[in-house]
Every structure is written in C-alpha cells, then in structure tokens.
C-alpha cells in the first residue's frame, strides 16, 4: 500500500466504506475499486487486505457468502448489522481525524 504507515490505520474503514456503498464485494474487486477511485494512487496489497477482511469477519462486522464462479469458489464480503453501525462511527472518526490533521498541517485552509 502506498505510504503504508499513513494509510494502514484507515484500511478497515476504507473496506467498510466500500462495502457500505457496493453491498458485497470480493477481495480482488476491493483492490481494483480502490485503485480505480484513487486513480492508481492507492494500491491495497493482498498481504494487507485479506488479514484485514478476516479480522473484520472475526469481529462480527462482516459476513461472507461463497459462490461458485468460473470453476472456482468466490468469497464475497458484506457488512453485518453491527458492521453497518460501526461504519458510520468509523467514518465520523476518520472525518474528525482528517479535519484535525488539516488544522495542524494547514491552519489557513481549515477555516
């Protein structure tokens, strides 16, 4: 992931936000969607994505659906009810964080 230290803390929120918008997605689709939205600026690596997805699933924030697609199994992720509520909280937290960072980094722009 580009600038990994800065983005790492927001990876779960990014995933949850995407799932909130798209309904359900599979791993590869998430990486491509992020790349597309950020015009290639942000690249979520497999090594970071799957552990994050499994952690969210273990925490009860994501649910999975497995389907047979083109001779293989595909695991789709979607938000649980708890996950949907948590997404709202995490997005609010992230927005607050961005606002605070902007105030620190560029005080003039924040007004």
């Amino acid at each position: 992931m580009k600038n990994s230290q800065l983005y790492k803390g927001s990876l779960n929120t990014i995933i949850m936000k995407l799932l909130e918008e798209q309904g359900r997605m599979y791993g590869y689709e998430i990486t491509q969607k992020v790349k597309e939205i950020t015009k290639g600026e942000l690249n979520i690596t497999e090594g970071a994505l799957y552990p994050a997805l499994h952690k969210l699933e273990a925490d009860g924030l994501l649910d999975v659906e497995v389907e047979k697609v083109d001779n293989r199994l595909r695991k789709y992720y979607k938000l649980t009810e708890k996950g949907t509520t948590e997404t709202v909280n995490r997005l609010a937290e992230l927005e607050e964080f961005i606002k605070n960072m902007q105030t620190i980094v560029n005080p003039k722009l924040s007004y």
Partner: protein, 207 residues
Amino acid sequence: MKLTAENIKFIDNYLKNSEVIYYDIRMEMLDHVATAVEQKMEAENLDFYDAFKGYMVVNKKEILKGNKFWSIYSKDTILNFLKFLIHPIMILISVSFYFFYKNVAVSNYFSESFTIRNLFFVFMIIVAFFQLIYFHLILKQRFFVLEKLGGLLAIIYYLQMFFMNQHEDENPSIITLTLFSYIMIAYLLYFIKEVYKFNTNKKKFVL
C-alpha cells in the same frame, strides 16, 4: 477470458506447493490470482501460462505474505476463547468445579502412579489424537478455521505443564484443579461449538 478447470487446478497446485496448506485460505487466494490472471490475459492478449508467470513474478511475494499471517497461535483465537470463558454458563461451570473440589478430596481417588495431573495429560492427548484423526483422515483437507483450535490446545498444554508441575510433590490446590478442569471442559465445548459452526457452513468451503 475465463480460465478452464485445468488452469484453476494448475494455480491451486502452485499455491499448495508454495505452502498455502489451508484449503479455506487457498480458496480465496486462488480466486484472487485467477481473476488477476484473467484480466491480464485479456488486457495484454496473453495465453494462460504467460499471464500467470507475468503476474506471479510481480505479485508472488505479496500474495504469499498473506499466508504467513495465518498462525494457529493467533491473538484473535485466544481472545475469542477468553470471551467464551466468561460466558455466564461457563462461569457457573467453574463455580460448580470449585465447590466440587472443595468438598471432594479427588487426589484420594488416584494412585501414586496415576495422579490427577496424569488425568489432565491423558485428557489432552485424547483430544489431540481425535483432532489429528478428524483433521487429516475424516476431512482430508486442512482448514485453518479448525486447526487454529489445535493451537489453542497446545497453549493449554503448555500452561498445564507450567502450573501443574510447579510443585511436583504436592497435590494441586483447589484453585489449580478448578482452573484446569474448567479450561478443559470449556475447550471441549468451544471445540464442539466451532466444529458445529464449521459443518453448518461447510458448503461455503467445498466446491
């Protein structure tokens, strides 16, 4: 361009040979690689082997990095088990064990050569043996969601070695006996619960 069943089998074997031993983890990696290869074949007009080779040269390290994350001694597994331990029914069981050991001198029922410590050990060996048979002979595929439970058993075994063997010549205290009986019964119930959950969702993992 869609991959054939042979192409999928090829990727699966490749991942297996790259030590992605757990079927449930490999299944997801396989779909990731297959989708990426399909897109590469289409975008660059390549055949399967060239697209696969090209993709893996760049991404192999990152793909397999995800595999290293999965350890049967994970913090999450331990935390989930600890949460299970504080379930009200489990607390009730622990209290029952305490009063049982307080009122019954269990050590009197064991000989000098076979103590209660040995009983705990035998219990764990039986559970571990059952798991080995279940994982390797009955399921025939290795599943991370189940094998991590084996890691948990190993941790309990080490804890038991540490606490029970501290005072070799003494009988274990009521607290120690309660703690280990409780943990073992809890482990057994937790294992049954996870196997039940796995079997309910098994269709999710098998083609």
